[in-house]
Assembly symmetry: C2
Homo-oligomer: 452 residues x 2
């Protein structure tokens, strides 16, 4: 039997986002003002975000309606397909049942448009003219650029310099959509100039790029800031993935024993797993949930759970999350989308509540898994996604060793068609693994603020 | 109203390919043996192709069943969606109804897997161990590499040198699937060595790469040759596109007045338009059919309709087609998939019968159209596909001028995610237009054989 696709008709596309905050037994710790150490209010965030998104950030409602205008655009590629990877199962000779939710068919090639479209919509509704953002690998920046084009908003993207240089094609993609792309750290902001003064050769980081984008938004009345991961409202928008997956698993007459996603800021992971964890919290079936991060940016496995800044020059509020310290600059691995010093506060909190197992993988093993997957299933996954593939294949091989059939579901968050340089380097033997020692991590953690 | 997607359920995926040969009032001229000038028989083709494909090449049956194993793989991405481009219509302020069939969601990102999977299947069935092929832009080579991985066949791809150098990422893609990629002209074949002796700096052409792939297959018992376009059986396999589109236009409660495709060898074009032309031939509605080729490889608009070799060193039989002469080496434009000196004999014949209007477009206009399309519809099209987009937008603007609403359907044959270098160059103002003069074409045509 061949790989099987489970399709939902459009009338079964979710019409609301799922808010896991409503189902948590303990509320997520509040965001704090760095000056006062007190919880911040909507007014503090208003220079950066439209009120609709600020309301979503703190909402305790179990569901939030997806505006019809956003649904109309979602329907261009949603519901996305879910596959049973029969050819991969055969190649691995495993009794495991392997499923993947495929977000690579969106126009941007990843899950990122799910939130980009929603954010552009709400900003447009509130009269915003321009959005600033940061991007690592470029998946987020290109998705926001696309959404900006659809809603006639100017978009300025601060792109981590190492990616700007490694991935000129992602830049071209954003520019094709009409966005302006700036290599970060840049001389356009105080934050960028400050970093460059101290580290003229800085290759940048998501933390630095966030500083620049936040500063540029705060300085201008008609400009807001847009973040592609980490925040609660971003996790919320991505839950269309998991909601669809639950329905599709029903079509497959199955239910996952293990759900797997790769984690950088946490959004594709949360998008798939939060609806499953929510179902469990409401009395549904128990499942294992695995978060796979790169060993070169081990936020969940080697970081600490504490209050930290979201950016490097301390322009953001303080959020409680798993962090390596806001000055941490990870190795320039190809999975640029996973190179963030922190983790979504909501994902961090849910992990602290015991619902998520973290693991870290090095990139050589991840690319080897991606090649195995490509030859079996035909799909070239993004370097970020290869982490989820690695953990999935390992789990499937454990099933084989143990002689048990478990259902494994992972989020194929994006295709790798923009990232063939990474595969080129891997095939040429040019990639190396890097794992941080405890001492290196301790040094990075010294930048943590003394709060809370 | 937003862009609308028309989806077919899997049970409405075509279960047979449509063979236009059965509906033509005049048969397509026979393929000739270059030595005797007489029609060739199956035995002449047996060193290159499995018998099942040879039979399809000359079949007069109106439909040919798609094997269940091939259907099973098709279902991974088929039926592909058809869209009404409402956002583009709005951006152009046109009364035209613009539709596009989207083949970019296949794992290879284009329509090419439709025939790659079928060809790999039939070769596997007949005990073949290895396939050789050529590729221009890399869409075909990567699709065959993928199909080879699925059916456990070795694949060797002779890649036109200019693309090999311009598009290293396509090469990485083929290698990820496990194929061996050779820059053509190479020193691995007599054909390659002969070209290199005369033109050491040759950047290659599809005609040369075909010579190499054909020679390599003919030299080995367990190896066959696979062609991604031009031949009748390739056009046949692609007709799943048009058959689905006809059903989807019914879902949209509409029918195209104009159907548009870009043409290199002719396969994505034939795949969409043959079922519509067939319907017309069987008494259905009249439609205009437009074939859009690059001005830098003007096979249909400036070539002649005559017998020519399919390759440069004259290893293939003679086929009657529109051709620029088998030694023609087109400019190194980014739409590498359209750089072939000839045209599908079946497309050529159907054009001679009066069912196809050709037109030629230069690349600057095509990229401008692609950027307009991307900002409206979110999809970055392949450079090849940009030719169809250009003709579609021009037609939509004519509708606006004339104040009439026509339905225009084009084949969005592939996404451009692998081709961002082309967009980078376009946005940087580095691309130039080239149109061949009549004298240049006459010079190229002097290589035509005296036959028929």
């Amino acid at each position: 039997m061949d790989t099987v696709k489970y399709v939902l008709t459009e009338d079964r596309m979710p019409t609301s986002w799922y808010n896991i905050q409503a189902d948590l037994p303990v509320p997520v710790p509040p965001v704090l003002h760095p000056g006062t150490g007190q919880p911040i209010g909507p007014a503090d965030l208003a220079p950066l975000f439209p009120m609709a998104l600020i309301a979503q950030e703190v909402s305790q409602e179990p569901t939030i309606d997806i505006p019809e205008e956003v649904q109309a655009i979602y329907r261009q590629w949603r519901p996305s397909p879910l596959f049973r990877a029969r050819r991969l199962e055969k190649a691995l000779d495993t009794p495991a049942r392997i499923y993947y939710k495929y977000e690579g068919i969106s126009p941007g090639g990843s899950h990122k448009p799910n939130t980009a479209v929603a954010q552009a919509y709400y900003n447009k509704q509130e009269g915003v003219k321009r959005l600033t953002t940061e991007t690592g690998a470029g998946q987020w920046g290109s998705s926001l650029a696309m959404a900006g084009a659809m809603f006639d908003l100017d978009v300025v993207v601060y792109m981590v310099k190492v990616s700007y240089n490694q991935k000129p094609y992602r830049r071209a993609l954003m520019e094709t959509y009409g966005a302006r792309v700036v290599a970060s750290p840049s001389t356009e902001t105080n934050a960028g100039r400050q970093i460059l003064a101290e580290h003229p050769d800085s290759t940048g980081s998501l933390g630095i790029a966030i500083s620049e984008a936040v500063e540029a938004a705060a300085m201008s009345d008609d400009t807001k800031y847009s973040l592609g991961s980490v925040l609660n409202h971003v996790m919320l928008h991505q839950t269309v993935i998991g909601q669809e997956a639950i329905e599709q698993m029903t079509l497959a007459d199955d239910y996952p024993d293990v759900v797997i996603g790769c984690t950088g800021g946490g959004s594709n992971f949360a998008g798939l797993v939060f609806p499953f964890i929510g179902a469990k919290l409401r009395g549904g079936r128990n499942i294992r949930v695995v978060a796979v991060e790169p060993a070169s940016c081990p936020t969940l496995t080697k970081g600490v759970y504490t209050y930290d800044f979201g950016d490097t020059t301390h322009l953001t509020p303080l959020v409680k999350m798993h962090t390596l310290g806001n000055t941490f600059v990870p190795e320039g691995i190809h999975a640029g989308g996973l190179r963030y010093h922190g983790m979504s506060p909501l994902v961090s909190h849910v992990m602290e509540l015991g619902h998520i197992e973290p693991c870290a993988e090095t990139q050589l093993g991840c690319f080897a898994a991606a090649v195995t997957f490509a030859r079996a299933e035909g799909i070239i996954v993004a370097p970020e996604t290869s982490h989820a593939v690695k953990a999935t294949i390992d789990e499937a091989l454990r099933c084989k060793e143990e002689g048990v059939s478990r259902a494994i579901l992972f989020n194929l968050s994006g295709h790798g068609h923009f990232d063939m340089q990474a595969y080129t380097d891997y095939l040429a033997g040019k990639l190396e693994d890097h794992e941080y020692s405890r001492a290196e991590v301790e040094a990075a953690l010294s930048s943590l603020p003394q709060v809370g």
